[in-house]
Symmetry: C6
Subunit: 79 residues, 6 copies
């Protein structure tokens, strides 16, 4: 498949394990930030801000939880 | 179909791949902002604000995650 | 049906197309604001505030996404 | 049924119409606020605050949308 | 069952009625706050803050709505 | 299984009881914060902030509720 994927690595929601599914959720959340702010330096400047702000860390957790819900369902919860 | 679509490009939630589904989620989220603030210049003025604000970037990620959940389910997770 | 509908236009979640479903999501979100703040002038005064505030526009997008998830499921994703 | 209901009027999620289901979502959201802040005067004091704050009105819409999702599913979307 | 339950009273999501399910949602939300801030006095100090802050009351409603969605589904909506 | 798990303890969403599922939800939420802010001292510095901030405690509850929804479904609600 030659389609350039910039939003979902591997162009699939299917993973071998829950751990890999969780890592995919984290990556998918980050890639949305990347296309909204494509400037790598600008993203880098924000890192100390959110990494030391409890409210933002919690908000990141909320987004990852929402992405993971979709991935977990796609994988039938790896049952 | 002659219906003018301003909210969902192509008037369908079905996409060929997860990557395209993800891109649709991003577009659908942006189109809601567009109909709420139809003035293109006003939207352009806000861009540096949200693109350099970690909390807003995270919030955009949350909205895209919610849109994507619906699109992924519509496509039976592209399985 | 003589029931006065002020919260869901047409008193149904079923729409012909995704685009119409999306428009219904927007309307349902607005009608909740309308019953919470019934004073049209007060709502009008707030318009420039939220239409020029990136964080609020994103939050509106989040609410519409949640309403749309329900409507999309009600319509079996228009498949 | 003699159980005192203070959280869900009628002790059921089933309603005749989408409009009634939506009204139930609004009531259920308000009743959570009521048990968290049981003082009616305190709640009344807050009314002008949230009724004139666009961000809070949007947040109320988000909560109602989440309650409604559950009620709509309980009623099989009134299909 | 000797397992100490500090997060879910009765170690079950099943309840007899919607009203009881709703009360369980409220309790489960509170118990997460309790394990995050185990100091009862600290929690007590925060009470007047959130009980008189409209934005926080709305946020509590959002969390309860999310917990309740899970409980309602576990109980097949008490149908 | 030799895969290093840093995001989901045990690399499974399946738990014996609702109580254990709830504890897993709490751990999964915390592990996302840990990989976003890997510096243990920095995380420790933030603890008094969020443990004494009602809004943040509520936000933590929201994230845990979202994680738990996925875990509960994976376990068919322990029925």
């Amino acid at each position: 498949m030659s389609e350039k994927t910039q939003l979902i690595p591997g162009n699939t929601l299917i993973t071998k394990t829950p751990e890999e599914g969780r890592a995919l959720a984290v990556k998918m959340a980050r890639l949305i930030i990347k296309i909204t702010q494509p400037d790598a330096k600008a993203r880098e400047r924000m890192r100390p801000t959110y990494a030391n702000d409890a409210a933002m860390l919690i908000a990141i957790g909320q987004t990852v939880a929402t992405e993971f819900a979709t991935i977990a369902q796609a994988n039938n919860y790896w049952k």
